[in-house]
Amino acid sequence: MSTTVIQIITLITTAISFGTVILFGSLGEILTEKSGHLNLGVPGIMYLGGIGGLIGSFLYENASASPVPFVGMLVALAGTLICSVLGGLIYSFLTVTLRANQNVTGLTLTILGSGVANFFGGSLSKLAGGVGQISVPATSSAFCATQKLSDALVALVSKGASSSGFLRVLGGVLDGFDKVFLSYGFMVYVAVIIAILLSLFINRTSKGLNLRAVGENPATADAAGINVIRYKYLATCTGAAISGLGGLYYVMDYINGTWANDGNIEALGWLAVALVIFATWKPLRSIWGAYLFGALYWLYNYIPGLTRSMQEVFKMLPYAVTIIVLIMVSLRHKKEDLPPSSLGLSYFREDR
């Protein structure tokens, strides 16, 4: 294969694995925002999800002499779900039951989440009596087991490649296909499946319709007999669980089961909030949106002759594109592209 093709393939794979982190984050946030709650705590919840999984698997791997990757994965998953749903519960208790301001509560959740995560990420191995950087190799291996389904096929074809020109091309295509679509940990596919399920749920089920009604006009939904409080709680907590998976994927797959105290999760969390806008609150659109963001973010690696300064300008692209989309949406004012109309407002039945 020529270098350009190889470069394009690496850009795509980088974009997809990077995009998956923000895809999880944005899917959770879409579900939450559909109930009318703008949760600016997504970075915090992704932090909580990441550290929850890491703590769980760390305790497991420390306790067992020869940790089984699959069990470690289950423990990590449980840790993530518990921690991120806990974050969602704090947020929904404050904003739904106590009707606190959503923006302020979300930002506080981000502060708390980053504090908890970086605190334990930095000092967990020390608290447990160990030294050095926290690391969970066994669990991480379960997450990034790159299943190359077509490996055997590729090997077979490339064996005959020297003899036949057709087979050589086929081998190249297969190899490219393999790299672009099949070289990731399983969570990349989980994210896509969740996106499709979420889209079906929101657009095709009566529960989804109820949820949209709650987000558009809670008073009307309430009058129609929908339990507004329950929908808001469930949407926020499920959303938090999905967003938390983004943190788990980042920790276990993207940085291979360790902790980096570099604020990356926070930056990715805000990118996830941006992606919700970019996708105009549609789960399916956020799949390719996430990969596009990933490609835009890493584009600077593939443009020759950039100074370090110019590289930073290129990293601005996802945010700039989001602003442009935001402006376009408000310009066109198409009904199906607008945010849920009660987004950010708390609901009190006795308000007139």
Binding site: L112, V116, W270, S309, G344
Partner: protein
């Protein structure tokens, strides 16, 4: 069953003066802070196995132990307060300016640029500081005007727009860092004008002048601890801003217009106010003051610039401004407590070799408690017993 309704008065003070009700409101908030300190104490005990009272003593010593520490506290307090005060008019107008972080950063970039390019020109310090302040104000104002224009013209969502502008500003900072890096290859800007200290906030009395004072005179220590300190200018600038903003919001025509637009844009339009003009004007002011915050951070504290110059203060300030209900004097109190907690938690962390991030945990817990307490001020809960259940049927 439980019945929740909007509170008009506290039962105890039914029909009495408003200040009495406000008094109870603050009582509830104080109770929330006390409760959160108990929770934090339990948490600290769990982590360090130390007497929480002793830990709080370590905190107090870490913040107020020496004159130097007190001034560091005042410096950080001034910066947080400056940003919070800058956000107040925007929030009072119900314009969610989440972009303070970015506005501070562009102000900081402008300040650093002036220090780097004009530092060698031998401009007298007051004039140089004025130029730096002016450019930082302009930079912050531009960062505030952009989302405001779109909000005013096309009703573009300002929460998300300003949020994105933060990251544009962060990348912009990263763009300048390699250009200004010192020493080469460090990927940091380093102390700007470390030798000449051009553009740094001066102390009002130099060390030589202080040394000439009679060491036995009663005023010597006082002067040393006030005008001899480098951060006095930060504090003075912010006091001026706080006073200005208090009167601007409470007593000026502009402040009244902001309040009306915040309550209801339709009412404002009916009263023949130019809503678009008010939005753009207010955000210009808001961005300008946040930009000045960048000037304080770079020229008055760090003497360098990095993507962490704003350090999340832009987000914390949002919470301060909201909790203070746009009252600039209440903001002093809240930011004082928050900066105390932050610095105190860092003191605990270094004393017991924990990570500094413990300060974010404590901050988060306390803010959650205060946020939750607002509910008990704004709503009243009645336990109606069985009769209520019958009424439901």
């Amino acid at each position: 069953m439980i019945h929740i309704s909007k509170r008009v008065d506290f039962t105890l003070f039914k029909g009495k003066a408003a200040w009495m009700n406000r008094f109870i409101g603050w009582g509830i908030r104080l109770l929330a802070v006390a409760l959160s300190l108990v929770v934090c104490g339990v948490l600290i005990y769990a982590l360090t196995k130390l007497n929480p009272v002793k830990v709080y003593a370590v905190m107090a010593n870490g913040v107020f132990g020496t004159t130097r520490r007190v001034w560091a506290w005042l410096r950080d307090l001034a910066l947080l307060l400056c940003i919070s005060v800058g956000l107040a008019p925007a929030f009072k107008m119900r314009f969610w300016n989440i972009g303070a972080e970015g506005q501070v950063l562009v102000g900081g970039i402008a300040t650093a640029a002036c220090m780097i390019y004009m530092g060698g020109m031998n401009i007298p310090t007051p004039l140089l500081l004025l130029i730096m302040a002016a450019t930082s104000i302009v930079a912050g104002a531009i960062w505030g005007i952009i989302p405001a224009l779109f909000k005013a013209r096309w009703n573009t969502n300002e929460t998300l727009f300003t949020l994105m502008m933060n990251y544009i500003a962060i990348q912009l900072t990263s763009y300048f860092i390699p250009k200004w890096e010192h020493p080469k290859g460090s990927n940091t800007v380093g102390l700007i004008n470390a030798g000449t200290q051009a553009g740094w906030f001066p102390s009002f009395m130099s060390k030589e002048a202080l040394a000439k004072l009679d060491p036995n005179a009663w005023y010597t220590g006082l002067l040393k601890n006030t005008v001899g300190q480098p951060y006095l200018l930060n504090v003075l600038i912010v006091i001026a801003i706080v006073l200005f903003m208090f009167f601007y919001l409470k007593k000026s025509k502009h402040g009244y217009e902001i309040a009306v637009v915040g309550q209801s844009e339709n009412t404002a339009r009916y009263a023949a106010m130019n809503v678009k003009k008010v939005i753009v004007r207010t955000m210009t002011l808001s961005g300008a003051i946040c930009g000045l915050g960048g000037f304080l951070a770079v020229a008055g504290a760090d003497h360098t610039i990095s993507a962490a110059t704003a350090g999340g203060r832009g987000f914390v300030a949002i919470i301060v401004a909201w909790l203070a209900k746009f009252n600039t004097f209440v903001m002093i109190l809240i930011s004082a407590v928050l900066v105390f907690l932050e610095k105190g938690a860092i003191a605990i962390a270094s004393e017991f070799s924990l990570s500094n991030d413990v300060s974010h945990i404590i901050k988060g817990i306390i803010l959650f408690f205060i946020l939750g307490s607002e509910f008990f001020i704004n709503y009243q809960i009645k336990f109606t017993g069985k009769s209520g259940r019958r009424a439901d049927k």
